[in-house]
């Protein structure tokens, strides 16, 4: 087939498509291409080789100084392993935070980790952009209940973290009990965007904030659920005190933790394990033991009650001086195995798996699809699923079991796209 052939067939009726191409901002496109290249671990020279062009051509394209030809874009998208839609998507470009996230790391991590970080920061950013796009398509904005920033500095970051945790529990009307639905709480009652992603193994979570997106958190899906909850609470603490500073939180990377990290750690412990409630329950345990210290089995059950790790609970009890300092270390050195103890006690496991995407995000995607704002392929892309899985998710979200007068349970379809009368 030649260009001449195609012109005869195509030019007449697809002229409107050229206008679509001209509307794409070359700077935004160049930035996306650069991000994708870095996430794939490719050099500008390697990208240039794909186009049989000089490296300076890639430099100019990424700066938005030289318009990219459609055939070049198709080749680069394939080379970077991305879809075309990621580069030419409609809608307002979002302030990119992937670069700032990676720039927040000092000193720089090793090159393997850096590569993983480039991939996961890009995916984090794309998901946040997708979330915003879904809100635009459905005309639904995420309600924000953001407090003013709390000061995190002072002579004692741990005390500051404790105080802010109490204030936030009061502000959100949470009392002093366990928070089993932390993610839903932060998504629905605060207005954070929380994703559970495959991050680099050493990374526990990431946090970013822009005016458009608000607070965004990605927690490492590979970590145990109780660890993820602590990481999420840590990032919430970060958001409350330094929301304009992006963060990539590593596991045990820094020996001497900066004040902000000490604050966020203390906040997380106090938010998930509030002093008053924990003290009350601990004293009840003591009374049941005739005033003696609780047993390791008691610790396991209490940790399960609060949905935190036994280590996290023990450290918190030491912090509150309810247990002697070093109790956890002694238990660990004595060979105490948490998982075995939990199994022996028959404690029902908390769900380990949780959805990668916020439930609201999924509902917005289904609504946009039902309204005809998204094609099936794009709907699947938004859900990070393939076609059949996307159909299954859509069906599960838009049907609900209903009992009829005869007592039979049936699945009734829900229309998410229509306004209530």
């Amino acid at each position: 087939m030649t260009d001449h052939d195609s012109d005869e067939l195509g030019t007449r009726d697809t002229a409107g498509l050229l206008d679509v191409l001209r509307r794409i901002d070359p700077r935004a496109l160049g930035q996306r291409l650069q991000e994708a290249r870095k996430a794939r671990g490719r050099t500008q020279q390697e990208a240039a080789d794909q186009l049989d062009a000089a490296r300076t051509t890639i430099v100019a394209i990424e700066k938005g100084e030289r318009p990219i030809r459609p055939s070049e874009l198709v080749r680069l998208a394939a080379f970077y392993g991305r879809t075309l839609g990621e580069f030419v998507r409609d809608g307002q470009p979002v302030e990119a935070f992937a670069v700032q996230l990676r720039a927040s790391l000092a000193p720089g991590p090793d090159s393997a980790t850096e590569q993983q970080l480039a991939e996961c920061t890009l995916e984090f950013q794309l998901l946040c952009e997708d979330y915003l796009e879904l809100e635009r398509l459905t005309g639904s904005t995420l309600p924000r209940r953001y407090p003013p920033q709390y000061p995190s500095t002072g002579p004692n970051p741990e005390l500051a973290g404790e105080d802010v945790a109490v204030s936030e529990r009061n502000r959100l009307g949470l009392g002093d009990g366990p928070l089993l639905n932390l993610r839903e709480l932060l998504e629905n009652d605060v207005g954070l965007r929380v994703f559970v992603l495959d991050l680099a193994p050493k990374v526990s979570a990431m946090f970013a904030y822009t005016e458009q997106l608000g607070g965004c958190v990605a927690v490492n899906r590979k970590h145990p659920a109780d660890r993820r909850r602590m990481s999420l609470a840590h990032e919430f603490g970060h958001f409350l005190s330094k929301r304009y500073t992006p963060e990539v939180a590593f596991l045990g990377r820094v020996r001497r933790r900066p004040d902000l990290e000490r604050f966020a750690d203390a906040f997380a412990r106090a938010f998930l394990l509030p002093a008053t409630g924990l003290q009350r329950r601990f004293h009840e345990l003591q009374r049941s033991r005739d005033g003696g210290l609780p047993t390791p089995a008691d610790l396991c059950m209490l940790a399960h009650f609060y949905f935190v790790s036994v280590e996290g609970l023990a450290v918190r009890l030491e912090e509150l001086r309810l247990l002697p300092t070093g109790t956890w270390d002694r238990l660990k050195n004595a060979g105490f195995r948490v998982r075995e103890a939990q199994a022996l006690l028959g404690l029902p496991a908390h769900p380990e798996e949780e959805p990668q995407l916020p439930l609201r995000y999924q509902y917005l995607a289904v609504e946009a699809y039902q309204r005809g704002e998204l094609s099936e392929g794009r709907f699947a892309r938004y859900l990070r699923a393939d076609r059949i899985e996307a159909r299954r998710i859509a069906a599960s979200l838009v049907t609900r079991p209903e009992m009829d007068d005869e007592g039979a349970v049936r699945a009734l379809p829900l229309d998410l796209s229509g306004a209530l009368a």
Binding site: S6, L374, S375
Partner: protein, 189 residues
Amino acid sequence: MTSHREQLPLLLLDACCLLNLFATRHIEHILRTLQHRFAIAVAVKTEARWVFEPGEGEDPPDRESVDVESLATAGLLDLLSPETDRENEDYVAFAVVLDDGEAMTAALAVHRGAQVATDDRVARRELRARAPQVAILSTSELLHAWSNEGHIEPPVLAQALRDVRTRARFLPPTSDPLRAWWDAACENS
């Protein structure tokens, strides 16, 4: 010398239709029976990956891979990709609204004078708006034609349609003119 198949009108299946036809368990017979030269865009191949295979009794459903290669080897399905600047231009432009497979299918249809089989509301809308000369078919139209031209026994057709629902999680929309036919055909056991 051109074969009979090459003289038939070209019909591009998008991922949605390809999955639905595969789910019937009769895709080979469908492609042989209908008077079209069938093809898919290469991007569709990566999007149409599997359908459900119901488990035995209470077992959860398994997955069956969509085997495009064997259909291509049998000469029943061609794989096409954009080759000219104009095809790439329209591919990119359609990708602003559609996913890659859908966009590539639309661009190829525009420039190669092909028809498109898709059930996707947005893809159909975009094609009607930007390339009204492209004829659009649906899964229900293809299976209706297959049942007529292939003289398919009602119980076989009923099972094929039920398989589309269970294996591909697809039902034609209630606005589909063939929905009543589909529902009635499913009842034949």
